[in-house]
Structure formats: C-alpha cells, structure tokens
C-alpha cells in the first residue's frame, strides 16, 4: 500500500497548531520534532483516528532519511523494513503521537517563556548523554 501523506492522531491537531514553539513552523518540521521526541522516549502510541497533515512528497531527502533511520532502529536494524513504506511511516507517526503528548505536557508544566528553555535543556541533555 502506497503511503502518500503523513498522518497524526486527529485530536492532536489542535495541539500541533497551538503549541507555542510550533507557531512559526510548518507541518513537516513539527512532525519531525514530535517524532524524534517520541523516539528518544522509545515509546510508540498507536493512532486511533487518522488525520492527514502533509503530502509525503514534500519531505526533503534528509527528512525522509531521518524517518527511515528511525524505522530501521525500530525494527531491530532490519534494513528490509525500508521496502515497506507503510510500516516505516507507521512507526514514525506513532512516535510522533507520543512526542506531541510529551510536548504538550512540557508546555503545560512550564510557565510562558520557560518552555523553549526547557526544551533547549532537553536537547542539551541529550547531546551530553549521547556525547554528540
């Protein structure tokens, strides 16, 4: 089955549109952030009601490569998974579904202005932890 668009959980669309740090971002970077966040927490959340957000063809090669690398890792380093685009995107979308919830939670817990700082801290901690 050909995947032609990226989907999110329907009831998270509002969150995507209202979350402060996303206000100047388009859908693909928003999706990549939530996907990566979900991946870093190693938690996939299945999508109950699908809501397409953007056509896959708009992904740049670097962005698509990121989604594919997550799929490889998620399927025990089996590169064959890349032949199954549906699974590749399913993993990405379920990680994003986790990521948006974490992000919402972060925003809710932080005062205005400190959300980005905490998000930055999260990134810096990640860099330290992974020794990037």
């Amino acid at each position: 089955m050909t995947v032609d668009r990226i989907i999110i959980e329907k009831n998270t669309k509002d969150i995507y549109e209202n979350i402060s740090i996303f206000k100047n971002l388009k859908w693909i970077p928003r999706f990549l952030i939530t996907m990566s966040l979900g991946f870093s927490m190693d938690k996939r959340t299945p999508i109950e009601i699908k809501e397409p957000i953007v056509l896959k063809q708009f992904l740049k090669s670097e962005e698509f490569a990121l989604i594919q690398s997550i799929a490889i890792k998620n399927y025990d380093n089996n590169v064959q998974i890349l032949n199954d685009e549906e699974k590749v995107f399913k993993a990405a979308e379920e990680y994003a579904n986790t990521g948006i919830k974490i992000l919402k939670d972060m925003e809710d817990r932080n005062q205005l202005g400190s959300f980005l700082k905490n998000f930055e801290k999260l990134i810096l901690d990640e860099i330290d932890q992974l020794e990037i």
């Binding site: 970077p29 952030i33 090669s61 670097e62 990121l66 380093n77 990134i123 860099i127």
Partner: protein
C-alpha cells in the same frame, strides 16, 4: 468682578532673526536692573523699545512678564515689515518659508549659492518700487525673503547698504533652520497686542509716561574709528545722534519713565574716552563684560546637573538599549530556529548513527550488490553475445547472466533506498554534531549584547538617580540660556575675527589712501605756492604796467607840453593853431583854432617846425642830449621864413648842439650873416670828383 488687563504670557517666543548686537547675552544683566516692583510682581504697565532690532529683550520679557501694553519701533523698514507680516499672517509666512527651505536644502552647495543669490537679487530689485506703506501679500513674500537671507547669509547678519540693499554674502551652514514654524507662531501670538512703528526713536517720546518701562538698544558707537558698523540700517547713527538720544533719555526720565539703555563701552579701547560718561553723567552706568553673564551662570550651575544634557544622554542610551535589545531578540530567534531545526536530528541521533553504520558495514562487507547496469545484462542475454568483449555466450555464461539479472531485480529497490539515504544521513549527523558549536556562537553574541545592554541600563538608571530632586524646568531653562550665551559668545568671537580682519583691510586701505592723500597734499601745496607766485607776478605786472602807463602818459604829456611850448614859441603865424596833441602811440595832431586836426594841410615849414619842436621836446624830456643834425633844414622853406628858421636854430643852439647841413642854394647870404654874427661854426663840405663835387670839410 476684577478684570486683569495684563496680557499674561502664554508663549515662549524668541528672536526670529539673527541680529548684529542682539542682547540675548545681556538678559540677566538687564533683568537685574529692572525696577524692584516689576521684578517682584512680574507685571509691566507699558513697555517701549524704540530700537527693537532682533527683539531679544522684548521677547524675553513678553514670554516671562505680564505686559499690559507694548510699543516697538525701528527705523529699518525691512525689519518692521517682517514684524508686521509675522504678526498678521504667520501661517502664510510659514508656507513661504517652508517652500524656500525645501527648495534650498534639496540642492548641493553650488546650486544653493545660486539660489541664495537669486533670492538676494529679487529682494534688492524690487526696492525702488516696493510699497512699504500699504500692507499686502507682497509683504509676506518679502518677509520670507528677509528671514531666508538672514538665516542663510554670512554669520546670520542682516545688513543693508546705503541704498537699502541686502549685501551680505552667503554663509556656510550645513542645514540652516530657515522655517521655525513653532517660534513664528509664538512670535505672532506675542505680537498680537503690540503696536509696531517704522519710526525714529524720537517719535515714541510723546507716548511715554511715568508708567513706562523703556529699553533702548541703539546702534553701538564704534569702538574705534575704523570699525564703523553702526549702519545697521541705511540711516547712520553717529555721535550727533548719540547726543540727541541722550537728550531724549533726559526728557523721558524727566517724565518719570524708567529707562534702561545699553551701548558699547569706548573705554575698552581708550580709557580716557568719556563720551558716554559725559552724556549720561546724571545716571547710573553699569559696565558689563560680555563674558560676565556666562561666568555668573556657570557659577550658578556649578554642581547642578545639566538636565538637558542628561536627557539627551539618556535618550542616546535609551536608543542604544533598543538597539541591543533588538540584536538580542534577533539572536534569540536565531537560536530558537537552530534548536527547532536541529532537535529532530539530535533526538534521533541514535537512529541516524545506527542506520549510517549499518549501511557503511554493508558496503564494507560487500553486502550491497555492486551497481550493475540491468539493460547491459538483458541485452547480452537477448543477443547471446557479451556486449563488453563481443564473445558468444556459452551455457554457463547464460546461466550466470540469468542469475545476476534475478539478483538485480530482487534487491534493486532496497539497494537504491540504502544508497540514496547514505548521504542525507551523513548530513543529518553532521547537523546534529554542529549544533553545539552554532549555539555557542549565538550564545556568545547574546552574552556580549546583554553585557552592553546592562551597562546602558545602568547608565540610564544612574542618570535617573542623578536627575532626582531638581527643578527640571528651571535648570533646563538655565542650561538652554547658557547654551545660547555660549553660542552668542562664539558668534561674537567670530564677528570679532571678521571685524578685526576688516579693520586690518580698512587700516591698510587707509594707510594707502593717506600716502596718496599726502602726495596730493604736497602737490596741492606746491600748486598753491606756484599759484601764489603767479598771482604775485600778475600783480607786479599790473602795477608795473600801471607805473609804465603812468610814466608813459606823464612822459607823453611832458613831451606834448614841451612840443606845444616850443611850437608856439617858434611859429610865426599867430592865432592859426590852437594846440598840438600827441596820441598814446605818439601820432601827432595839429589842432587848428577851428578845432580840427590840420596836420594834413600844414605847410612844409609848419611841419618841419612841429617836427623840430617834438624832437627838441623829446630830447629835453628824455635827458638824452645828443647833437641834432638836420639835413637841408630850409630846403622846402621859402623866402622870409628861412630867416625865421635860422633864428630858431640859433635859439635852440643855446641849449643844444645843432648841426645843419645846408646846400649852397639854401645857405643864403642872410642866413650866413646871421650865423656869423652869432659865432656859429661853419664847415664847407666839397664832394669828391667822381661824384662831380669835392668832399672836404674845412673850418670857416
């Protein structure tokens, strides 16, 4: 209900023209000598300024005191025209000035000069036909030209020559403020109830009362003879006028008016010059040095913060604060963008690194089939010929090619995918790795700008702290006043430099002229001397001529008298002739008894007798006693008269040697006998043979 007739100052107006000898720097000194009552109540019943000029004192008083009635005068008609135009049509004037300002400022230096000269030419051209007496729109245009020329002219001077023409060259101002619309409106409001006159100071005398405050700022008396800059208008103001002003001053103070007058102090140049001390000996004279006001103000302001300067400084810091905040915000935005763009690759770094390693491992272990051209293999199978070496494919080769083609078909998609994502994965890993460095650079910039921002904020806080507790408005005014004084002082110093240079030029010219004048004077003296001598000579000549004429007349008269005497003694005819007259040119007239000149009709004997009388008279009068020789004395005399002549000759010979040359025919017996009787010497002259006669002289 009590009605306050005093016009309360509602506006702060200042001079709208830069005026030579403006009194802004003397405001404090003049205010200090105002009557105590005025200083206390800030109320002035009547204010007169008969030499309004730039009006610095008037505008100051009008802006700070309640003046019930004001009267201003000036003999300069251009100045008064401008005052009236501002008073009556400030908005139209602002329009005109604004238009001139725009036109002027948009041009480059060269074009500005052309523009200036053009306005000056227009201004001067209309003078002969301009109607100053009847107010019209032309007055507004002319007022705008006056202000324009004043604001753009050299040193802001407004100087007219004797013909009333503006003759100041263009100044060097970068962006002169030509149209100060706020001040023009304020000046107009102040002038609304002011009576303005284009008249001499003397005309104000009748209106001045014991309630009047009069400030007189006449053209300064030049400090030395070569710096005569009192011609502020085409009407000069010399010592005679200064004396007349002093007389006017006496009259108005006698009326009870309170009068203040300012002028230059000639003692600065010559301490023995008591010109004003003598003129105003009955009044208090306060000598003010231009720098004194500034010094006093500086003392007053010592230790008091310059609020205006502080506010300007604060405004500068505030702008810097804005700039730093702007940079910081920009950098924060840049950092946010970097975080959000990099976050996916950092959070997924494990996956990226893992995939990249897997692909690299497969490449390193040849797990990824080499890239084979599917079309080449298919073509070889079809033709059963190797497309590379051209050999016919055997069975083994065909089987190998068929297996290869199957492998290609089976793995091609995955290989493609893995190969395609290799480079993007590397880019993503690189992006994640470079995040920290990029962020650090941005953070460094933010820290730097925040440090600057903090410093600026501290400065602003310090200024706010320093400003606390002072009367802002009062101090601000004093600082503004000080700036004005400093500007004026600088202007005066500039003027002084200009005037000194002009003085040197004039002195040089004067010296040259004096040299020429001395030469002329010497020449004139010589000419006068020569002229005197010529006159003297002329007089001598006249006297001598008169003497000569007198002598000549006297001589002639003597000769005439003697000739008459002799003639009438010798003449044997009685009662025929009346007298002998001799003219000035010694022509002879023998007047007949009948009254006519009978010389032409006289006989030869009468003529000879007359000639003899005249000759003898001549001899006698001249005192020259030479022998008298008469050739053939009686040749033309007939008969008996010859003897008469002989007797005459005998008589004459008593006093005078006489030689008579007779021919034989003439020398008659009678004559000879007569001569012999009287012992007259005779000589016989014989002519030579070749002349048919013998020439010999022998005594007888």
């Amino acid at each position: 209900m009590q009605i306050d007739l005093f016009e309360k100052p509602k506006f702060t107006a200042k001079p709208f023209l830069k005026w030579a000898g403006g009194k802004k720097q003397l405001i404090d000194d003049i205010e200090n000598v105002l009557p105590k009552k005025i200083r206390k109540t800030h109320k002035i019943e009547q204010y007169f300024e008969p030499f309004i000029g730039g009006g610095a004192i008037f505008f100051y008083l009008a802006s700070n005191y309640h003046i019930k009635e004001s009267f201003i005068y000036d003999i300069n008609k251009e100045l008064i025209l401008t005052y009236n135009a501002i008073k009556r049509d400030p908005d139209e004037l602002i329009n005109e000035l604004s238009s001139l300002e725009k036109d002027f400022l948009k041009r480059d230096d060269e074009k500005r000069k052309e523009f200036f000269l053009n306005i000056r030419k227009k201004f001067n051209e209309v003078i002969p036909d301009f109607n100053f007496d009847v107010y019209s729109r032309e007055h507004v245009i002319r007022a705008s030209q006056t202000i324009f020329l004043n604001k753009t002219g050299f040193n802001g001077l407004f100087r007219l020559n004797k013909k009333g023409e503006f003759n100041v060259p263009m100044g060097r101002y970068k962006n002169p403020k030509i149209c100060d619309s706020v001040n023009i409106k304020n000046v107009s409001s102040v002038l609304k109830n002011v009576k303005i006159f284009n008249k001499s100071f003397k005309e104000s005398e009748d209106l001045i009362t014991d309630k009047s405050l009069v400030y007189l700022d006449p053209p300064y008396r030049p400090l030395n003879k070569t710096s005569n800059f009192t011609s502020y208008s085409e009407n000069e103001f010399n010592d005679k006028q200064q004396a007349e002003l002093a007389e006017y001053f006496n009259k108005i103070t006698e009326k009870g008016a309170y009068a203040i007058l300012s002028n230059s102090d000639p003692k600065n140049e010559d301490e023995n010059d008591n010109f004003f001390d003598d003129l105003y000996s009955d009044y208090n004279i306060k000598r003010v040095k231009a720098k004194d006001s500034l010094k006093r103000l500086n003392n007053e302001l010592t230790g008091i913060p310059n609020l205006k300067e502080m506010e300007e400084k604060r405004e500068k810091y505030r702008k810097k604060e804005e700039e730093f905040n702007e940079v910081i915000n920009k950098k924060e935005d840049e950092k946010e963008k970097l975080i959000l763009n990099s976050a996916p690759y950092i959070l997924s770094f494990l996956a990226l690194n893992n995939s990249s390693n897997i692909i690299q491992y497969k490449i390193d272990n040849n797990e990824l089939p080499p890239p084979i051209d599917q079309e080449v293999v298919e073509s070889a199978l079809k033709k059963e010929i190797c497309t590379i070496c051209g050999r016919h494919l055997d069975t083994d080769s065909v089987i190998f090619a068929e297996n290869l083609l199957n492998t290609i078909n089976l793995s091609n998609d995955l290989v493609k995918i893995l190969t395609n994502i290799k480079t993007p994965l590397s880019k993503n890993i690189d992006l994640a790795k470079r995040f920290k460095e990029k962020r650090n650079t941005i953070m460094e910039d933010i820290r730097f700008n925040k440090k600057n921002l903090n410093e600026v904020v501290e400065e602003i806080q310090k200024i706010d702290k320093d400003k606390g507790g002072y009367d802002d408005e009062l101090i601000k005014q004093k600082y503004i006043h000080r700036t004005t004084l400093e500007t004026n002082l600088k202007d005066f110093e500039d003027y002084l430099v200009g005037y000194k240079a002009e003085k040197v030029t004039i002195s040089n010219t004067l010296e040259n002229k004096q040299v020429i004048e001395n030469k002329y004077l010497k020449d004139a003296e010589k000419t006068a001397e020569i002229s005197r001598k010529i006159t003297l000579c002329d007089d001598y000549v006249k006297i001598l001529t008169r003497i000569k004429d007198s002598i000549m007349d006297e001589t002639k008269n003597l000769i005439e008298d003697l000739t008459n005497e002799l003639f009438f003694r010798f003449i044997w005819k009685e009662d025929v002739f009346k007298k002998v007259l001799i003219d000035k040119d010694y022509s002879m007239n023998l007047i007949h008894v009948s009254g006519y000149n009978s010389l032409g009709t006289a006989s030869a004997g009468e003529r000879e007798l007359l000639a003899l009388s005249f000759t003898l008279a001549l001899h006698n009068v001249s005192g020259f006693h030479s022998p008298l020789i008469i050739d053939t004395p009686v040749a033309r005399i007939s008969g008996v008269h010859r003897e008469n002549f002989a007797n005459i000759f005998l008589e004459v010979s008593k006093n005078q040697q006489i030689i008579l040359l007779f021919t034989s025919d003439e020398y008659s017996e009678n004559i000879s006998s007569l001569f012999k009787e009287n012992d007259i010497k005779e000589y016989l002259i014989n002519l030579a043979d070749n002349y048919k006669t013998k020439s010999t002289i022998g005594g007888v």
